[in-house]
Symmetry: C2
Subunit: 151 residues, 2 copies
Amino acid sequence: MFSNTVEYALRAVAALAEDWERPHAVQKIAERTKMPNDYLAKVMQALCRAGVVRAIRGRHGGYQLAQAPEKLSLLDVINAVDPIKRIERCPLGLAGHGANLCPLHRRLDDAIRETENAFRFTTLGELLQSTGPVRPLCPIEPTGSLINVAL
Amino acid sequence: MFSNTVEYALRAVAALAEDWERPHAVQKIAERTKMPNDYLAKVMQALCRAGVVRAIRGRHGGYQLAQAPEKLSLLDVINAVDPIKRIERCPLGLAGHGANLCPLHRRLDDAIRETENAFRFTTLGELLQSTGPVRPLCPIEPTGSLINVAL
DNA sequence: ATTAAGCTGGACAAAGATGTCCGGTTGAGC
DNA sequence: GCTCAACCGGACATCTTTGTCCAGCTTAAT
């Protein structure tokens, strides 16, 4: 239901969120989140243009979140790379169907709206605070210890 | 959020639902739903293989719903052409993340599950029964009369 | 039997998403 | 001011989705 690019972008910001006041090189993020290095570079550029992350160029540079994790919603991230589009008007361009969607498109748009809201009100900060056996981007070691490596 | 193909499939079955006990030719459906004739042919074949519609071959043939509109859910149609995939396991393949999704993927899967349910419990019959100014596949004529032509 | 309507399915073209490659630019540290 | 790590961005390759074309098969009606 969500594009590959969205999945990548979310993994990347989740990785950045844990230590968001320092820049992280693309290569390091790619290793932690197990995705293609060069493709991630493109995704990060998109996130940067959208203002979700900030780029620090030059040696010891990298990307960092543009704001605190509590200020960034999952929707911000999703919309930066692959915007969720609501159904504003009748896709068939029918006369008289301005804001009045037919029952079919009304149901579709309702579902889209609910999805939008689910992500609008979830921040990166909340993901980090979640309690449970599995942490964001963190595999559980066979021994039971937690290593901060994956989503 | 939904593919073009899903939109087409839903339009097509909505068109069939209004007179579901007779076969309708692909060309007629394509005109009513304003989509490419030859592409619709492929979509109908997929719906047919999935058992959502039935094909009547030969002259005066066409497609008709395989069941009454009350028996067909929007999810049946969606899954026939572009199945909604839940997140069953950690996309990073991390050790220890069997059924335990990390907070990020848990939120994503929750959203997918809610979308699935929204469509699982909506039938084509309900769309037809909806009251409101705009009917499925029906443009409102400037004069105010209803013509059964579009979604 | 012949014809015409209409589905079937393969081949192919166009566009977008995904992924790779690489030379150029920036800026911290020496 | 030199060097090197790291971002920038264009070009290109590949795959999937979307869309088109067409010859062949099936069946109703005559």
